[in-house]
């Protein structure tokens, strides 16, 4: 219980002594406050112990004191600096330095420790408060291991942009630049271009590749000694990964791991060709020689990650080996490494984009048919299999939510002269994974699932007329079990790619590498197609939707390794354009030697699908705020623009006025004016007025009958 306080009121004071009230504290427990202060004396957060200074006799102590004080004062205001001496006033090379603030003391301690005063004297500094802890350390004390790592702060800062703009990365000529795409400003606004790195002496941020990580958290740049990772609002360097002559890099889907490859061929058997790093610490967790097969075709990647990043797998031509990420070891069966074996050969495999399920294709060989198998990891349970005969080629297509899987096979007829396509569609979410076959009479040019949807588009070419059409199919709901044609229509045979928006519904049809036709369209929920805009981007070879499905970049890029004639051909047109999803051109620029342009990816949305549906339904409500900001911005832009124009015009008119004055003030002005008059008089102009009358129509009418 606190002691009962005495409350003094104004009225209690004797007359004439009212001003005494000011001297009375209105806080009650003031005595305890003082006690607290007494206790504080046991800690000395402002004091640093500095040892290792020269031990000098009394005659030199003053000089030393001066020197060290000067040094100590670099870190803050020193309130006390005491040199410790023995009984004979001989210096012990030891100081207590007290700063006016604890922060300064800490800073001084960090900086002074290890500071070399001269060749034979190096300071050792500790905070006085840590003294007890240090001297009580036992013999077997080991300092905690220091692992370099970075703190993931402001990782997703760009997502907080007030106007929800998108960022994009440009890598062209010697430049690496990050921009905001600003639909109001039209021209992209520079965020960072490596100016810090270039200020440090290197002329460029990177002379090799630059790319986003899959969730957009980082930018990675390639350098000769390895890869660097950049993050946060200032694009500060977070980590370096040493890998000489690195050629390719792949993040795990959760960005926790990085696989890099230096381009050594499989045959070289160089056991550090592939390295796996932990992103945050830069540790090399494992390294491998280059595996035999890059399962997606091309030269990279050799290891494929499962969607949850728990597993990664590589394959040879006969087996698949799945590694567990946590241990970096292959999955074991009864204590033994057990690859998934395919003695008849293995062509390609792919992970489901959402589940730990492998889709594996083994080609037809001799009498054994081509075979597709879906295997769940780590249980190795076969979810489904499908055998197909007379197969020339096969493609694997996963729908982005992992609900459906399509095996697209080209079958040959018995005579092996002609081929036709057959789609085998697996429904992963239904019991026993039913498979359905769609047979196509025409040549299939392209198959593309609608992102996060249950529809797909195919480009078909008639074998005889070579006319091309696009056809859309819809997977009917659970249990209904059929895949139906929604609609199809003819399109130019130049079109060779379909790009669905990441949100589905909208799509861009493009003719890559040739005339550059672009068709912006959509497929409504009830299956009505609509081409809203047709345009072209000559020589276009890349089309990219932004992660929100609002904008599309079309680009003409050139390969970084000079690739002969085609590189030269593309370089004439190198550049990019930004379009709205409806095909309205927002920005277009030529960029010499454009190697890479990419939207910054976004991390997966954290809101539930139900919430997303709700937002979609009430889009107007949500977009109000953004519309308002955009509107305001546009208005101020407009005013600024008009202001600038008016200023320019006024200035120009002022100049014209001055010219007119000069003309009129000239001594010969009257003479010349007379000349003009004479000129006009001499020309025999005659003003003639002529009237033409023409009767257009006449009508006789009896007005009154008398």
């Amino acid at each position: 219980m606190p002691p009962e306080s005495v409350k003094v009121q104004l009225a209690d004071l004797p007359e004439g002594e009212e001003d005494l009230l000011e001297y009375l504290s209105d806080r009650e427990e003031c005595i305890e406050d003082y006690e607290d202060e007494g206790e504080k004396e046991h800690t000395f957060p402002n004091t640093v112990m500095v040892g290792g200074a020269p031990c000098v006799g009394p005659e030199k102590q003053e000089k030393l004191q001066k020197i060290v004080l000067k040094l100590f004062e670099r870190f803050g205001e020193v309130t006390e600096c005491e040199m410790i001496t023995d009984d004979n006033k001989q210096g012990l090379g030891f100081f207590f330095v007290t700063y006016s603030s604890a922060d300064d003391a800490k800073l001084a301690c960090d900086n002074l420790n290890g500071h070399a005063l001269d060749r034979s004297h190096t300071f050792k500094a500790v905070m006085l408060d840590n003294y007890d802890q240090i001297i009580t350390r036992t013999e077997d004390y080991r300092p905690p291991p220091s692992v370099p790592f970075f703190v993931r702060e402001h990782l997703w800062w760009w997502l907080n942009d007030e106007r929800q703009r998108e960022q994009l990365l440009l890598r062209y000529a010697d430049e690496t630049e990050i921009y905001w795409h600003d639909p109001v400003e039209r021209a992209p606004m520079l965020v960072y271009n490596g100016s810090r790195e270039r200020a440090k002496g290197s002329k460029v941020w990177t002379e090799f590749r630059a790319m986003w990580s899959p969730r957009g958290s980082y930018v990675t740049t390639f350098h000769r000694p390895g890869v660097a990772l950049w993050m946060g609002e200032g694009f500060r360097k977070a980590m370096k990964y040493e890998h000489k002559e690195v050629k390719h890099l792949e993040f795990s889907p959760d960005e926790e791991y990085i696989i890099s490859w230096d381009g050594t061929p499989h045959a070289a058997k160089y056991d550090k060709a592939v390295k796996i790093f932990r992103t945050q610490t830069g540790e090399v967790l494992r390294s491998f020689p280059t595996p035999m097969v890059a399962p997606k075709g091309g030269e990279f990647p050799h290891f494929l990650w499962s969607a949850d990043s728990k597993y990664f797998a590589k394959c040879s031509d006969k087996d698949i080996l799945v590694y567990e990420t946590a241990t970096m070891k292959p999955l074991m069966v009864e204590g033994k490494t057990a690859p998934l074996k395919f003695p008849d050969g293995l062509d390609r495999f792919e992970w489901s984009p959402t589940d730990p399920v492998l889709s594996i294709w083994t080609p037809e060989r001799g009498n054994s048919p081509g075979r597709l198998v879906l295997i769940e990891i780590p249980s190795r349970r076969e979810l489904a299999t499908k055998n197909v005969f007379q197969v020339r080629d096969a493609q694997l297509h996963w729908q982005s939510r992992g609900d459906y899987f399509c095996l697209n096979v080209t079958r040959t007829s018995k005579s092996k002269k002609t081929g036709h396509n057959q789609l085998e569609i697996f429904r992963l979410r239904e019991k026993n994974v039913p498979v359905e076959m769609v047979s196509l009479r025409e040549n299939l040019k392209l198959f593309q699932w609608e992102n996060s949807g249950s529809r797909f588009a195919v480009l078909l070419q008639d074998e005889t007329t070579h006319a091309q059409m696009i056809r859309f199919y819809q997977m009917k709901g659970r249990g209904k079990g059929t895949c139906e044609i929604i609609t199809s229509f003819d399109i130019s045979s130049q079109i060779n790619q379909v790009y669905w928006s990441p949100l589905g519904t909208h799509f861009v049809l493009a003719s890559l590498g040739s005339d550059g036709t672009l068709l912006f369209g959509n497929l409504s929920a009830d299956g009505k197609p609509d081409i809203v805009h047709k345009d072209e981007h000559f020589m276009v070879n890349e089309v990219m939707w932004d992660p929100t499905g609002r904008y599309v970049i079309t680009a003409v890029t050139v390969p970084m390794v000079s690739g002969g004639a085609s590189a030269w051909r593309y370089n004439m047109e190198a550049g990019f354009a930004i379009w709205s999803f409806q095909g309205r051109l927002q920005y277009k620029a030529q960029k010499e030697r454009l190697y890479h342009v990419a939207w910054r990816p976004r991390p997966p949305a954290l809101v539930s699908p139900e919430k997303i549906d709700e937002v979609k339904k009430n889009l107007k409500e949500y977009s109000k705020n953004y519309d308002r900001i955009d509107e305001e911005l546009k208005r101020s832009k407009r005013e600024e623009f008009q202001g600038a124009r008016k200023e320019k015009m006024d200035e120009f008119l002022e100049m014209l006025r001055a010219m007119d004055d000069a003309r009129k003030d000239h001594p010969s002005y009257d003479d010349w004016e007379d000349g003009w008059d004479d000129l006009e008089d001499q020309i025999e102009w005659e003003e003639i007025e002529e009237q033409f009358e023409e009767e257009i129509d006449s009508k006789m009418e009896v007005v009154a009958d008398s």
Partner: protein, 346 residues
């Protein structure tokens, strides 16, 4: 805006101009021909014959009575506009690149002529002022019957490089010349000395034009830019950037009209023939470009020529223009009603 295509030249056009009243269009070309057309409908009225070489330039007096032409055959010829009869001839010491009547109204008896160097023996390139002989004050014909004798008043031979154009300045007191090395020079007419000299561009200035009061000057350069100059204060006031080498420019006379002001300029050019094969798109950028004089923004372009535009001229009322191309066609455009009614062109 349907144009009239005037097919009266068999080789590249070198110069087009309208008379002051705007009813006639004069054109000349490398085919030695000089034509005159009705500007209202593109009907050819006649030709002025006599040159035996490329006709580089021409000029007609304010009263439309006398036409002077500059030929590579080392002479300038004065024609009676109406009859086509040769009135006088100025014999020069090299190919004549440019000719222009002095600007004093009702007293246009002098011309400025720019000639190239032909050979050491004949003499250097020069800018000259000639008093054009007329039968009124001198009826002695030249020995070959070319007309009354003209007299050289001034000859400037100390030139920085080849002269591309030379115009009379305000009140005929100066000459303004543009050169192949990008230099712009203002000369004193009386002494023949430079008054002002500036490196206007880094490449050749094939075309330059002046406003009627001679204070505003527009230069078009091979480096794809055009610049507007204030000759009163001797400074550059605007720069217009395009994506093609320029050969031709013209200032709309409506920039200081009393009403329906249009602050416009026209620019023309395009890839020259020897470069055309290097374009990927196969397009040589032969459109005429309409720019805003003050805001230096492209307002529009008119396509049609299939060779570079060599010369371009606004009509005196600013209601249309003519352009002459390397391919030998003259295109005569009258602006649509929307040019005057649409706020965009204000």
């Amino acid at each position: 805006m349907r144009p009239y295509l005037l097919n009266g030249h068999s080789r590249p056009l070198t110069y087009v101009m309208f008379n002051r009243d705007g009813d006639l269009l004069f054109t000349c070309g490398k085919d030695k021909k000089v034509n005159v057309w009705y500007s209202s409908n593109g009907e050819r009225i006649g030709t002025y014959d006599g040159h035996n070489g490329v006709v580089w330039c021409l000029d007609v007096t304010y009263d439309s009575k006398r036409l002077i032409t500059a030929g590579a055959d080392e002479c300038c010829k004065v024609f009676d506009m109406e009859t086509g009869e040769q009135l006088a001839e100025i014999k020069e010491k090299g190919p004549c690149r440019w000719v222009q009547w002095c600007r004093k109204p009702n007293d246009q008896n002098k011309v400025v002529v720019a000639r190239d160097r032909f050979s050491e023996a004949k003499g250097p390139a020069a800018i000259s002022i000639w008093k054009v002989g007329s039968s009124a004050d001198d009826d002695r014909d030249d020995e070959d019957g070319a007309g009354p004798k003209s007299t050289r008043i001034l000859e400037i031979t100390d030139l920085p490089s080849k002269t591309t154009t030379v115009h009379w300045g305000a009140y005929d007191e100066t000459l303004v010349s543009s050169h192949e090395d990008g230099l712009l020079v203002v000369w004193d007419v009386f002494t023949g000395t430079p008054v002002w000299e500036i490196q206007a561009h880094d490449a050749s200035i094939p075309s330059m034009c002046l406003s009627e009061d001679r204070y505003l000057c527009l230069t078009a350069c091979k480096d794809a830019s055009a610049k507007l100059w204030d000759l009163l204060n001797k400074k550059c006031v605007k720069e217009y950037k395009t994506d093609r080498g320029l050969n031709a420019c013209s200032i709309s006379p409506r920039y200081n009209a009393r009403e329906n002001k249009r602050y416009h300029i026209l620019l023309g050019g395009g890839q020259s023939a020897e470069e055309v094969t290097t374009t990927a798109a196969g397009e040589g950028k032969f459109q005429a470009l309409l720019y805003h004089m003050v805001f230096a923004e492209e307002l529009g372009s008119v396509k049609g020529h299939f060779g570079p535009i060599n010369t371009i001229a606004f009509m005196p009322g600013g209601d249309g223009y003519a352009s002459g191309g390397e391919e030998g066609y003259v295109r005569l455009h009258h602006f649509d009603e929307s040019y005057w009614s649409n706020k965009y062109y204000d």
